[in-house]
């Protein structure tokens, strides 16, 4: 395996070679759950279905040889006008045991923006999912508390959606507020 030079993207072939056995293991364990896969510029990427996000994650966390015990990040992308399926929820997993990374992508249609929650599996998902919900309006089935995390309760709309009005102003709510801000 070639050594990755610091400050540059790692060699694509080296990454492919590194992730080969991981991919085989995943394919044997998950089977049809993997809709497609790709060797990304830094780690292996799997495309999964939104409703099976939690069952796939359970397998990723508990299966021997995988043990992805750390949910590093969870976020969403709005592909408005660029892709047919508008949203995509992105999961980054890390295995502290095997020192391996994995990215899972769950495309979510605008007509039914719902993903199964990872809250029961990873406590870290609690606030990630609340944030995604208030910023993109994607619901998480099975999450215990979908209140807003960063914005105040009266806030309308989903500010990180690409069609949220850039010049939109909302009234400031609360004691002493003098005007819209």
């Amino acid at each position: 395996m070639k050594k990755a030079v610091r400050g540059h993207a790692p060699d694509a072939d080296a990454l492919k070679e590194r992730d080969q056995d991981l991919l085989q293991l995943l394919q044997s364990l998950l089977g049809d759950e993997i809709q497609s896969h790709r060797h990304g510029m830094d780690m292996l990427e799997l495309v999964i279905r939104p409703e099976s996000a939690s069952s796939v994650s359970r397998l990723l966390r508990d299966s021997e040889g995988l043990e992805f015990d750390y949910l590093m990040d969870q976020t969403a992308v709005d592909w408005l006008g660029r892709r047919e399926i508008r949203f995509e929820v992105v999961y980054h997993f890390y295995s502290t045991k095997h020192n391996r990374y994995l990215r899972c992508l769950a495309p979510v249609p605008e007509s039914r923006p719902e993903v199964s929650s990872l809250y029961e599996l990873y406590k870290a998902a609690d606030w990630y999912e609340r944030e995604i919900h208030e910023m993109y309006g994607i619901r998480f089935a099975g999450h215990h508390d979908m209140r807003k995390l960063l914005m105040y309760d009266g806030f309308k709309g989903y500010p990180l959606r690409k069609d949220y009005s850039m010049k939109g102003r909302q009234p400031l709510i609360g004691p002493g507020s003098r005007q819209e801000s």
């Binding site: 030079v5 610091r6 400050g7 540059h8 993207a9 960063l150 914005m151 105040y152 806030f155 500010p159 949220y164 850039m166 010049k167 939109g168 909302q170 400031l172 609360g174 004691p175 002493g176 507020s177 003098r178 005007q179 801000s181």
Partner: protein, 224 residues
């Protein structure tokens, strides 16, 4: 007898002097409640906590974490709308007389977030009344000191204390002749949006393939 004295010049003199003494004492023992939310707060800590700058010279070094023990609220840092309510509550909890210093562009006008921000407040004076504005992004500790000295002078002159409603409106610098505020705003908006259209990912990719390329993502190639 006492009534006669109250109307005479002697009594008035005593009263005035007592007020002077109180304002003098008050101005030299400000107890700031520090409300630091972002980068400006670092500079405020630098001013109030670090020995190099020594805020104690002006009698305002006893920073309080509780509004009940403070009479000066230093707002340092971006205030998001979610934070506006706690800030107002803290202000209400401070005993009278209370003063507010707003440091940094963010609390004065919204600063870098003045355009298109869905989350931040455009000027903290939408929520609480401000006595002294200290401009800068962030203002240096000396700037904050100047703000505190200005406030002390205001207290000694009893501006804002006897007539709390009559706070002075902030002064804006005069514009050059023939230029309107709208023109400046439009130009800034244009510059800002031109920046926003720069495709950083493309530039980054170009740098990775050709580290020496001109105008590429800064620093990446040289550092290696």
């Amino acid at each position: 007898m006492a009534v006669g004295h109250a109307e005479g010049p002697g009594q008035n003199l005593l009263l005035t002097r007592l007020e002077d003494v109180i304002s003098w004492a008050r101005s030299n023992s400000l107890w700031p409640l520090t409300f630091g939310t972002s980068c400006c707060a670092i500079e405020m800590m630098m001013a109030s906590g670090a020995s190099h700058h020594d805020l104690a010279r002006f009698g305002a070094e006893v920073t309080r974490p509780s509004p009940r023990q403070a009479d000066l609220l230093i707002v340092a840092g971006t205030i998001v709308k979610r934070m506006a309510q706690p800030l107002r509550t803290l202000y209400e909890q401070m005993p009278e007389p209370r003063y507010v210093i707003a440091t940094g562009a963010c609390v004065i006008s919204g600063g870098p977030f003045i355009y298109h921000s869905y989350s931040s407040l455009r000027g903290v004076d939408d929520v609480i009344p401000v006595d002294v504005y200290v401009p800068g992004c962030p203002p240096r500790p000396e700037g904050l000191f100047y703000g505190i000295l200005t406030l002390q002078r205001m207290i000694r002159e009893r501006a804002g204390l006897k007539h709390p409603e009559e706070r002075r409106a902030p002064v804006t610098a005069a514009l050059p002749e023939g230029i309107t505020k709208q023109e400046i705003q439009a130009e800034m908006l244009e510059l800002f949006e031109a920046q926003g259209r720069r495709n950083v990912h493309e530039e980054y990719r170009r740098t990775v393939s050709d580290p020496g390329a001109k105008g590429a993502y800064p620093g990446r190639g040289e550092r290696g």
